[in-house]
Point group: C2
Chain length 314, copies 2
């Protein structure tokens, strides 16, 4: 039985990435069970050339960003990552180096986040390169963090800095200088805030993927509350600050941050900071009673009006 | 907070499909645990316009075939399906009716196979329509069926009939008449053989997705054995028989059957037939000692030579 090029590639590039659950990538499916007292937490995201990444982005970074976008969703649920299933579709003439770089990126983040490949599917396409990853994590029974627990008077916190990735995209478009390369790096390789334990501290958590305003809006809708954000309190990197205040709206609505947004009682701030360890945490506003609404206020308390509230695919 | 068109679509078409595990499709990930004494069985497949389906295939059938291809992988592991995660990418100008038809197809097979939507991701694309499904099933601890248990002198069985879908593709290309529409129906809507309980009976199981010869080859490689198949014993539908013997090679190497191929001791045939219930089962050959090799024999015992051994994407 001759082995097809597809299965040769699986053996060469992907078997070394496979965990025991993958059964050597030689069976129809993976077999896995969460540890006793734990539940599975499952999420999926896709990346398409020309939509989620640029045609000349290095493929090892594309692979890592794909994993990291999903890892950020697990982080928002308070789940510890375990493994993933991968699909990709590429043109038939894709050079061998592309597969090697894909595997190299996956291997780097498997080591970084202690996850392994459970299985997948590859295909040819006449269209743009596309990839999906289904991430599998675990949380203690009943302890997964949700979006629907925010309460009036909760303080609103975010990790890290906001708006770098969208400014990195502007830099790629040539509309903004990025002399240090910091903004570009944040666009290519986000840092999902995995393995922070907010159970018993946070009321609601979401990861910021579609823009701070829109994602905070999801918490407001799920929790039946409103939110006020102080624009000046939103943490900026030095590079984002250097870009200037005219980028305020893209920073708050542009997305691709993969930071966590957390609501918790004011008094829980110290515990929350302790749970964050070395990850920076900033208080940016407050949850209010009322229908779902996100108000961004300037330093005078006046509400800012934005053209866009965040990323929509349609 | 205005709701984006993307989230309006999620609410309209996909929330009605969501199980409790999906948390109303309003959180970052799904939460689910297998029943006590069970393991999770996980698989993913993609379908791309122009590769896995034709541009004018009805989208409700595309949705169902996507689920069924994955359900067939679970069936080959002896796993009971539970739920799925879905991704799709479509052009921005996709009409509302497309989403409605997608949801209708998913709903039909959710009812047929008693599964529910756990979560997903949608995106726009400038390329062909693409979809993936990650299927989640369960098997009793340690009871998942594998490809690596075939032993010399096992009989080889297949369910249903072989080769209809690839002839249905020839019909779509205009190279073959399909007066009854049977071949076309088999291409559009396979019947995965879920919920057959071969545990303790079968030595090895695989589903036939890339062609009988290639998929039997996977069992041979995983098990360290050879296989002999009697071409005349491979079960044909009336429509495939009517197409004529010149289609022998495509039938055995073309794929998209989503039938199960099972190896088991000769003496287990009766138990296997009983486990199949109403699903037809045919004995097509025998496992032999020796290196991985699939030999297809004609009625005189002479080995047939094929140009292709099965579907490869690259």
């Amino acid at each position: 039985v001759p082995v097809s090029p597809e299965f040769q590639r699986i053996a060469r590039y992907f078997k070394p990435l496979a965990g025991a659950e993958a059964l050597g990538l030689a069976d129809d499916a993976a077999v896995w069970a969460p540890a006793p007292g734990h539940e599975a937490v499952l999420t999926v995201d896709q990346m398409i050339e020309g939509v989620h990444f640029l045609a000349d982005d290095p493929v090892n970074y594309v692979a890592r960003k794909l994993l990291r976008r999903n890892l950020s969703d697990l982080a928002a649920m308070g789940a510890a990552p375990v493994g993933y299933l991968l699909t990709f579709a590429v043109p038939r003439e894709t050079p061998e180096a592309w597969f090697a770089a894909l595997a190299e990126g996956l291997a780097a983040d498997q080591a970084e986040y202690r996850i392994s490949l459970f299985g997948g599917d590859s295909a040819s396409t006449n269209g743009p390169v596309s990839l999906t990853a289904t991430l599998i994590g675990t949380a203690r029974q009943g302890q997964a963090l949700r979006r629907d627990g925010a309460r009036p008077d909760d303080a609103i916190f975010v990790t890290g800095t906001i708006g770098d990735a969208v400014l990195g995209l502007e830099a790629a478009r040539g509309t903004l200088a990025d002399p240090t390369g910091c903004l570009t790096r944040r666009r290519l390789l986000p840092s999902p805030r995995v393995n922070l334990d907010f159970a018993g501290i946070a009321h609601a958590v979401i990861d910021i993927s579609d823009g701070l305003v829109q994602d905070l809006g999801h918490i407001c809708r799920a929790s039946g509350v409103a939110a006020e954000v102080l624009a000046d309190a939103v943490p900026l990197s030095e590079a984002a600050r250097a870009a200037g205040p005219q980028w305020l709206e893209p920073r708050l609505t542009g997305g691709d941050d993969y930071e966590l947004l957390i609501t918790a009682p004011e008094a829980a701030g110290t515990a929350l900071r302790a749970a964050c360890g070395n990850v920076p945490l900033a208080r940016i506003g407050r949850i209010k009673a009322g229908g779902p609404d996100v108000r961004v206020l300037d330093q005078h308390g006046n509400q800012l009006e934005f053209q866009s509230t965040g990323w929509s695919h349609f």
